[in-house]
């Protein structure tokens, strides 16, 4: 699709001068958003920046066919037209803008707080205190789950409207984990910033930190040596392996299939330990740093990693093959929590949830970054959009990631792993920088805007969970309520990544 000439496009990890970005009239801004989404562009991020009594809206769209990121902006006062009913993937973004900037999306179908952060007026809100969707009727009953759950997991509130065992509607209310990460980044880069990025969603440490480092490198013009990119790629794939393996095991556990559950639980630890072998932290803390990586990989470490990968691949294959050969497991996974590809596209699902519906969207291929610019990793998809699809995608990605790591380790580029010192140099002023990475849950988007002295005016993080929670709610429609834990696990979304 040919975009109007007012739209500026950049590539992943690119920057643009804010002054080069035209301020579009409100109608044109909305028109471009709608047209682009109609033509297969996807919303990457959409946020507001309060300036005096006006708010500048920024829209970022991605087009996978040619890896372009379009940036548009407009300036509004007090209110802006809501496009949520035409384009569901904007729904949460509009609520977020309302909550953060205090401007009203006119015509939003149901405007409610998202994270219950203190309003612009300073008034405190309690999480979960809002009007929830209700189905009326004598035979309908409501089941409330959480925010405190029976497992050691994060808090979130789920409200089911049920007719017997069948779920009519599920409403998910989050915000209990809101830490104010984005607000805390204003005026940065601070010394603490990199550590905050590592814990934006703790199980996606590498994914988020790499996105942040790409933003920093774009703003400071730093280049990453080839060895650094390769090591980042290995760390990112190890993170994917650990989490996918954990999920495969947990899914087996949820259907009561013990052998795979136990084996995968242990093998997940093996992958975490491989990350620890690289950087001393099982969750990859300290691994990715602006300009490269915090740790190099010696020949001894490389040999050890290759050996462990080989052993673990064998064990994991045996454990997961058990799943496919058990009819009782397949009977549970197939046709549970299905989403159509059309719905998935409309909601803007990302990551394995999207690929499990048959949608070939993978940031590593669509918007290549880091090592993936030099070395391709095949995108895998599965048909069905059900739990089985999401499980299958996880397994296929696991295999691809293992291949990828083995190849990279076999031909690790020489040279240093980092350019320059560990500390961050001050970013360039008046810029907008975008970085997309493919964390194990899906696309992670970081956007930074710097002011005239090179401090962050706004830093926007969009975690894959931000899109995918809506997918979970939709997947439950018409399902058995007893299948909720299984569907939930097949998405395995982050609460803190959403709440930030």
């Amino acid at each position: 699709m040919n975009l109007p000439k007012e739209v500026r496009t950049i590539h992943n990890g690119g920057t643009i001068f804010l002054d080069d970005l035209p301020l579009l009239p409100e109608e044109l801004f909305c028109q471009i958003l709608l047209d682009a989404i109609d033509h297969g562009w996807r919303v990457l991020s959409y946020f507001g920046l309060p300036e005096g009594d006006e708010v500048t809206l920024f829209g970022l769209l991605g087009y996978k066919e040619d890896g372009l990121i379009a940036v548009i902006r407009s300036r509004v006062r007090e209110s802006f037209p809501s496009l949520a009913s035409l384009c569901p993937q904007l729904q949460l973004f509009e609520r977020e803008i309302w909550e953060q900037c205090g401007i009203v999306p006119e015509g939003h179908p149901w405007l409610k707080p998202l994270r219950f952060s203190p309003l612009i007026t300073g008034e405190r809100q309690l999480p979960g205190v809002m009007e929830q969707y209700r189905v009326e009727g004598g035979e309908v009953h409501e089941v409330a789950v959480g925010p405190v759950h029976a497992g050691i997991i994060e808090p979130g509130h789920f409200r089911f409207q049920c007719h017997g065992e069948e779920v009519f509607h599920l409403e998910i209310s989050l915000g209990y984990q809101h830490r104010g990460i984005e607000a805390g980044l204003a005026g940065g880069v601070h010394r603490r910033t990199i550590f905050q990025m590592e814990t934006a969603a703790g199980d996606s440490t590498i994914g988020h930190t790499q996105a942040h480092c790409m933003v920093m490198e774009a703003l400071t013009g730093r280049r990453v040596p080839a060895r650094g990119e390769a090591l980042r790629g290995i760390a990112l794939e190890l993170e994917r392996l650990a989490n996918h393996t954990g999920d495969l095991g947990a899914l087996a556990g949820d259907v009561g299939y013990l052998p795979t559950a136990s084996f995968c639980g242990r093998i997940r630890g093996e992958f975490l330990n491989m990350t620890a072998l690289l950087c001393g932290s099982r969750f990859g803390r300290g691994m990715v740093r602006p300009g490269g990586t915090g740790f190099d990989c010696s020949d001894r470490q490389r040999e050890e990693l290759l050996r462990r990968i080989e052993v673990t691949r064998r064990e994991l294959t045996v454990a997961v093959e058990l799943l496919w050969s058990s009819p009782s497991v397949m009977a549970r996974l197939e046709k549970s929590g299905a989403i159509t590809l059309k719905d998935a596209e409309e909601l803007g699902l990302v990551g394995p949830a999207m690929r499990g519906c048959g949608g070939a969207r993978d940031t590593r291929k669509d918007f290549p970054f880091g090592i993936y610019r030099m070395k391709q990793i095949p995108t895998v998809t599965a048909a069905g959009g059900d739990v089985h699809g999401r499980v299958l995608v996880r397994w296929l990605e696991t295999e691809r990631s293992l291949d990828f790591i083995q190849e990279l380790l076999g031909q690790l580029p020489g040279g240093g792993c980092r350019s320059g010192s560990l500390g961050a140099s001050p970013p360039a002023p008046g810029m907008l920088a975008v970085a997309l990475t493919e964390g194990w849950r899906g696309r992670i988007c970081h956007v930074a805007l710097t002011d005239t002295v090179g401090e962050f005016k706004k830093y926007k993080i969009t975690d894959p969970s931000f899109f995918n929670w809506s997918g979970l709610a939709l997947a439950l429609r018409g399902e058995q309520i007893s299948d909720f834990p299984l569907c939930n696990k097949s998405f395995n979304l982050s609460y803190c990544g959403f709440d930030l």
Partner: protein
């Protein structure tokens, strides 16, 4: 007299061991070493020493639930012959009492669950009531078949007769019965593939979700009652499957204990090699068990 003492001894002390054997079997299949075999005893000892937390919204119904359930199963355990030794209590028609003692216990559990007013426990109660209705016919068909084959209306009469000869005579019917009863054994005792006694996911539970609010000694009663129920139904099942007798009393008792442990291993194996069914599939299997047992009845009526 010796038989009575051994009967009471086994009934009171052996049930938790079955749970221990099942969980050890599952652990071995999963490649773990697993909890000690005696862990269920430690758990019970711990629970009976603990205090209780009672919800403000509950009444005496909630507290009576576990007690009534345990009492009914204890009485039922006096009616069931263990191995080929007659039960301490036995009279014509005690099989009806046997069947409805379990129903009474279930009724008390369901009332206690509804008493909490929690939506989870309400869901669990609905599921339990539905599935037990579907499981009941199978038990009665089994009792009818055994009553007809033995000409006795008491459990002791049915199960202590020389069943070896009956197997030779009406093997087909008994085989169908064994299949149906194994399904009921797993369903009534909340084992995989019907229910997962180890899950923490309250939305998927059947039995466990009804006792979520129980704690301390009352939870101990629930756990012990569940173990005892498994013991009693296993004894019923194992007597039909392995109707051997050696003639020596002590050897017969030994045979009974060993076969019970083997059954526990078999249950553990089933739990290890298959996943849970979707809840919508459970009625189908229970009705299937009912049909199997009705065929068993038809076969002996011809």
């Amino acid at each position: 007299m010796t038989d009575l003492i051994i009967h009471l001894f086994l009934v009171l002390l052996m049930p938790p061991l079955l749970l221990g054997v099942i969980s050890r079997t599952k652990a071995l299949f999963a490649g773990r070493s697993g909890a000690p075999l005696l862990q269920p005893y430690y758990d019970l000892a711990r629970l009976f020493r603990k205090g209780m937390v009672l919800s403000d919204t509950t009444t005496w119904l909630f507290r009576s639930g576990p007690v009534v359930t345990l009492a009914t199963v204890l009485v039922a355990s006096l009616l069931i012959p263990l191995g080929n030794h007659a039960a301490p209590l036995s009279f014509d028609g005690d099989m009806i009492l046997f069947a409805y003692l379990f129903a009474l216990g279930r009724f008390a559990t369901i009332l206690a669950a509804l008493d909490t007013g929690s939506s989870f426990e309400g869901m669990g109660a609905a599921r339990e009531a539905t599935y037990s209705c579907l499981a009941e016919p199978t038990l009665f068909f089994a009792l009818i078949v055994l009553a007809r084959l033995s000409g006795s209306l008491s459990l002791s009469g049915m199960l202590t007769q020389p069943l070896g000869a009956v197997w030779a005579d009406s093997g087909a019917s008994l085989l169908l019965l064994v299949g149906a009863l194994f399904i009921i054994l797993l369903a009534e005792n909340c084992r995989i593939p019907f229910d997962d006694p180890n899950t923490h996911l309250e939305l998927t539970m059947i039995h466990e979700v009804m006792v979520l609010d129980q704690s301390g000694p009352l939870l101990g009663c629930v756990l012990y009652g569940a173990a005892l129920k498994l013991f009693v139904l296993s004894a019923f099942f194992i007597r039909i499957v392995l109707p051997f007798r050696t003639g020596d009393t002590l050897a017969d008792w030994g045979l009974f204990v060993v076969s019970l442990l083997l059954l526990a291993i078999a249950i553990g194996t089933v739990e290890s090699v298959m996943a849970r069914f979707r809840l919508t599939r459970i009625p189908q299997l229970l009705i299937g068990a009912g049909i199997l047992s009705s065929f068993a009845t038809l076969l002996i009526l011809r």
